[in-house]
Symmetry: C2
């Protein structure tokens, strides 16, 4: 009485009954498939599918039989097969340059949470600040999912532009692609830097040193441009730029060189660099902000808990992730996509900045050999 659908046995008597090859490996549990359930319930695969998806109307009795069979076999539809048939994976991808950076960790979290609310999963990949790898990863990750978020991509503009079509639906974070229709969420780093500089200038600082971020970071270029713009404004204003990086260690190593510039205030690429520099400055016997002021960027959670708490510009990291999801979701549904947004950083004045010291902070003062 089996209503076995004919797709499988290619003639049950004339063909050699080649033993069913098992795929999985592992124990002998025959994995429940839709065919097995259909057989058990005495219906066709189509009907099982309809019951599982609640689409179309199926006679109550059949529904019951199918549900019972599914239950008994512990059946759960294969997401992979559904993905193929439906042409969507219910997954989106995120690519970040550096998973160790709290900024990206929070973006990840925001995106993951927002996507989860809509029943989507998140695939994560790290490009290790490597533009070449990033491009490859992006294409691959995109094909495994329904959409892609590129956070602070390091890919050159030209390449990004030519890639953008293959990557759609695509959302960019901290990177704009002028003239394209790719939605972009970014932080107005220039505005943040301007506020930071104004704050330092108000404290009397005239010589700033900037601990620069990764070469390929466009947001680093934004910061530098804003600093230079500020530099030409004031009379007797000096700006020194120091190649640094994006990590604790980078900041820590740059401390000595920063002091050597004679600057009275350090503007760090981000909070992590600022922490590293702060630690290095203290090891050199300097008091913060007594001898030298320092600012960060991002307002990562730890910024308010260090001592002194760090003066920094706050950006809505989590919100960047959430809104990235919003844009992606809109794109995926062909709906209207909200226009680009530039989040305005909020200056948080804490205790790592203060008035310029009376005498230049070039030597060690407090600790160490007096």
């Amino acid at each position: 009485m089996s209503s076995r659908t004919g797709d499988r046995g290619r003639g049950e008597e004339d063909a050699p009954p080649r033993p069913p090859r098992r795929r999985g490996g592992h124990p002998e549990r025959a994995k429940a498939t839709i065919s097995r359930v259909a057989d058990a319930a005495g219906v066709s695969r189509a009907t099982v599918s309809r019951v599982m998806n609640g689409t179309s109307t199926v006679a109550p009795e059949l529904v019951a039989r199918v549900r019972a069979a599914a239950e008994a076999l512990n059946y759960e539809p294969s997401p992979v097969a559904r993905s193929l048939a439906l042409g969507r994976t219910s997954t989106v991808s995120l690519i970040v340059p550096d998973l160790a950076n709290p900024m990206f960790q929070d973006v990840l979290r925001g995106l993951s949470n927002a996507a989860a609310e809509e029943g989507h999963r998140l695939l994560v990949a790290e490009s290790n600040e490597n533009a070449g790898e990033e491009a490859i990863l992006a294409v691959e990750a995109r094909r495994r999912s329904d959409g892609l978020v590129l956070a602070s991509p390091r890919v050159p503009e030209e390449e990004l532009r030519s890639l953008s079509e293959r990557l759609a639906p695509l959302v960019l974070l901290n990177r704009e692609l002028p003239g394209s229709s790719v939605p972009s969420l970014s932080v107005d780093y220039a505005a943040g830097i301007k506020e930071i500089v104004a704050h330092l200038v108000a404290f009397g600082h005239r010589h700033l040193v900037y601990l620069s971020g990764p070469e390929a970071s466009t947001s680093n270029r934004d910061r530098i441009a804003a600093l230079h713009a500020a530099a030409v404004l004031g009379p007797g204003f000096t700006l020194t730029e120091l190649a640094c990086g994006a990590t604790f260690e980078d900041g820590h190593q740059a401390a000595r060189a920063a002091v050597a510039t004679g600057a009275t205030a350090v503007v760090a690429y981000n909070d992590m660099v600022a922490f590293g520099a702060m630690s290095g400055l203290r090891e050199l016997g300097l008091d913060i902000p007594g001898d030298i002021s320092i600012t960060g960027f991002d307002d990562i959670p730890f910024a308010r808990y260090t001592s002194p708490p760090l003066t920094t510009a706050s950006i809505p990291r989590n919100e960047l992730g959430r809104q990235a999801w919003g844009r992606l979701w809109a794109l995926m549904n062909g709906g209207p996509v909200a226009h680009n947004v530039r989040f305005q950083p909020r200056l948080l004045v804490r205790d790592s900045t203060g008035p310029v010291p009376d005498r230049p902070a070039s030597g060690r003062r407090r600790k160490g050999s007096a």
Copy 2:
């Protein structure tokens, strides 16, 4: 001259030539499929597949034709279709209770990096410390991938045990499943706590307050057990347990209550709680470690950069992720799986702990109204 394989057109003249329905939505780019490439190169799909995978030998001339066609069409095999056909996704999943916790962020990073080295991607999900959600997520995530890592799962033992078969290949972090064959990597929290207590006792502390972690955390239970074991050893030794949590805020809020216990040292569930508590204690006018000592657990990157730097127990977070991959990889390949490991935390004595103060640290001292 097309060697069109017959699987598609069900008779090219007798059937109504139903227009090919387009799926994707988006622009008019006909997505390159293996069939299209096969047609363009004038070979069968099988041959294209063989060329793409480099398996079996194909005549050089055909290889060239196929490569050229693939190039021209910008063809890239569909990972989803390959996953279905091959029965593997080249993806593994990680489920963590809380993405905001640096501990899990580092595990994520270690796992992601290690998996990437073997060409695998990572699917991430967060259970929000919710055991029910965790179980559902685990099953779903597992089905989308080839293996699963459960970090500090909050699922009750009974349920985890019954689920473990469906989740295999499965690796547990910070959770053991006695009697099962599920590999487990954990941290010997008890040993770490023992070291911390010994360190504090050596400084003369006799009254400790423990800021307790999440209810469902088994590693929290391990810590508590170790504390109690230590408590019965010493004479005149007092241990107070305070329900707290796992976050900054939890620690911050617990500061006042911690001081009220009259303890001379605070043992925090983890570094984040310790930071929160430190911040709160300072707001109460207390000097650390002058008035009160405090310890953390995990040695997250910031621990050495706060001031005072935090005395804590270091655990190899990244390594947990990497080794989890190692176990998973072994399981997936049916190879022998290395035995379970309990990482021994390393006590890092920094400046947040010191000798017990002469008089009890119950009031404000340094700052505030003198």
